[in-house]
């Protein structure tokens, strides 16, 4: 309705944008079409979550107790917090940095290559579990192809303390899906960087370094950090790959929980597993709150 032509005119008219439906009657009526969604969420998400939190506070006789949580921080269970968080942090850092580097090289290629890599990245980001574990055994195991090739070139990766079943090995394996995930999520942010900005910076006398520091970093930092946190959560909760790789030798939180609840232990430990699961949610909430805060304080609107 304004004199100037506006794109997406439909939603700009005299306050009759998307909100005009919402004026219908009282506000709760407008939630009616969302009822199936809310019901689905309530039953399949909220319901299980309340149960697990409740059960984490029960002992074997169904009485309220903090004992499970006290147990969580003792011995191997307490140690697993440290191992899990450290491993996830390193894995996220490596995945984010390497992934960002690869993504920034990919955006400079032709559109066909970009499409192919995006499709491949979506496959690789979803690999995990046994297939991934065996691929790395075939490649980086003691008899693996890559191991032998590197040995031939004079670098024995097993010369030190490295094994595929240690933290370092797990981090290497996780990189196989962390890096593609970073590429997948970070690329759109990179594609929003317009060549004009580089030209503008150059024409104003900026060096490559000032462009990187003054334009790229402020622009991409929020996307970078938020994706890195996503990678953290991704490796923190990874279970299938860890289980396939370590066979229980590494004290990772998901593995311990899996052992606790998956049959062959005394019944008492069911509730300990639930308390551990609640603790994992707690760690995740802290990490994701950072994610939300970063998004909120990012100056660049998407």
């Amino acid at each position: 309705m304004s004199l100037t032509t506006t794109k997406r005119a439909g939603s700009l008219k005299t306050g009759v944008g998307p909100l005009h439906f919402a004026n219908k009657g009282n506000s709760y009526k407008s939630a009616l079409p969302l009822l199936p969604f809310f019901a689905f969420i309530a039953y399949f998400l909220v319901f299980p979550l309340t149960f697990i939190v409740r059960d984490a506070f029960l002992d074997n006789d169904g009485k309220f107790t903090f004992e499970n949580f006290a147990e969580c921080f003792k011995g191997v269970y307490g140690h697993s917090f440290f191992v899990s968080i450290q491993l996830s942090f390193i894995s996220a850092a490596i995945g984010a940095v390497v992934g960002a580097l690869i993504a920034s090289a990919i955006v400079k290629t032709g559109s066909r290559f970009r499409k192919a890599t995006a499709a491949s990245a979506s496959v690789l980001a979803n690999t995990g579990g046994v297939p991934l574990a065996f691929m790395f055994l075939a490649g980086f195991g003691t008899e693996g192809l890559v191991t032998r090739a590197l040995k031939f070139l004079g670098w024995n990766i097993y010369g030190g303390t490295f094994t595929l079943f240690s933290s370092a090995g797990i981090i290497l394996v996780y990189s196989f899906f962390q890096i593609p995930l970073m590429v997948l999520i970070f690329s759109p942010a990179l594609e929003n960087v317009r060549p004009e900005w580089r030209e503008a910076s150059d024409s104003l006398g900026g060096t490559r370094l000032t462009y990187f520091r003054r334009v790229m970093v402020p622009l991409l930092f929020p996307a970078f950090i938020s994706t890195a946190l996503l990678l953290f959560a991704n490796s923190f909760s990874a279970y299938a790959t860890a289980r396939a790789m370590t066979a229980g030798t590494l004290p990772l939180m998901p593995l311990l929980i899996g052992n606790l609840v998956d049959g062959n232990v005394i019944a008492n430990q069911q509730h300990l597993g639930q308390a551990m699961a609640v603790c994992m949610i707690g760690v995740s909430i802290i990490v994701m709150s950072i994610y939300v805060l970063v998004l909120r304080f990012s100056k660049v609107k998407r």
Binding site: P18, I106, K108, T127, G129, A138, Y239, A240, A277, S284
Partner: protein, 259 residues
């Protein structure tokens, strides 16, 4: 915006590519080894297809994926469309809900489901499909949200309604075709997740293709590697079909209309 690749970019791409390709090549090489060492063949692959579990578990996983995809389509598409129209005031709440699965590690979620769900629901393998809808929420929501934000949705809906279409017809004839790429993306994500999910399946004691692979791997190393190669290759084929399908469908449609 093809730019010149400088040397450092080339090195990054080559090194990155090598990291991903070599384990796959290695796995492929292993998968071709036969038990009478020093010779290559397809014995390991043949062995897989001879297993009873192969077909049955694969079919379970495909059926799960199908049900998951249908649930996403039926539940999420109308929901996100409504959030872009009349339900805008609920958008932040729904957005928040859709982030929750990122916060809840799947293993924690699996434990909750195990204790919370009544027997009747736990008696069918399709409970996994509903859970996969939940786990894939962050990705399906985002895909649909981005798709709907990129079209003049309100005008299209009003044009359709003024033409006499019901909301259902509008959804079927106008909205879904217009955001087909986003819908395909959301469904593809849900399918990929369903086909590869392991944690929920194993902790809720269901047999799916991924849990079957895990079982087979114990004691049959070469066969398991062959399976790994096969499943990765299979995923690749599916992705390529999806990546190419929308385009070819659309061009067919135009040709048909031109006749």
């Amino acid at each position: 915006m093809k730019q010149k690749l400088n040397l450092s970019n080339r090195i990054v791409l080559l090194a990155g590519g090598a990291f991903f390709i070599f384990p796959m090549l290695a796995a492929f090489e292993f998968s071709l080894r036969t038990n009478e060492s020093k010779s290559y063949g397809f014995d390991n692959f043949r062995w897989i297809f001879e297993q009873d579990g192969f077909k049955s578990n694969l079919s379970v996983s495909f059926r799960l994926a199908l049900v998951t995809a249908i649930c996403v389509l039926v539940l999420m598409v109308p929901t996100v469309v409504y959030l872009h129209l009349g339900g805008a005031r609920w958008k932040r709440l729904v957005e928040f809900i859709c982030l929750v699965p990122l916060v809840v590690p799947v293993i924690s979620f699996a434990l909750g489901v195990g204790t919370a769900f009544p027997i009747f629901l736990q008696s069918t393998v399709y409970e996994l499909s509903f859970l996969y809808v939940i786990v894939s929420l962050p990705y399906t929501y985002r895909a649909l949200d981005v798709g709907l934000s990129s079209i003049p949705l309100l005008t299209l809906v009003e044009a359709s309604r003024a033409s006499g279409a019901s909301m259902r017809q509008t959804l079927m004839y106008v909205i879904i075709p217009t955001i087909r790429t986003a819908v395909n993306g959301a469904i593809f994500l849900a399918i990929a997740l369903s086909l590869g999910e392991f944690t929920l399946a194993v902790l809720l004691h269901w047999d799916t293709f991924p849990t079957w692979i895990a079982n087979v791997s114990q004691g049959h190393v070469l066969n398991a590697i062959a399976l790994s190669v096969l499943s990765l290759f299979g995923a690749w084929v599916v992705v390529m079909i999806f990546a190419l399908a929308p385009k070819s469908l659309r061009s067919n449609k135009i040709q048909e209309a031109t006749k």
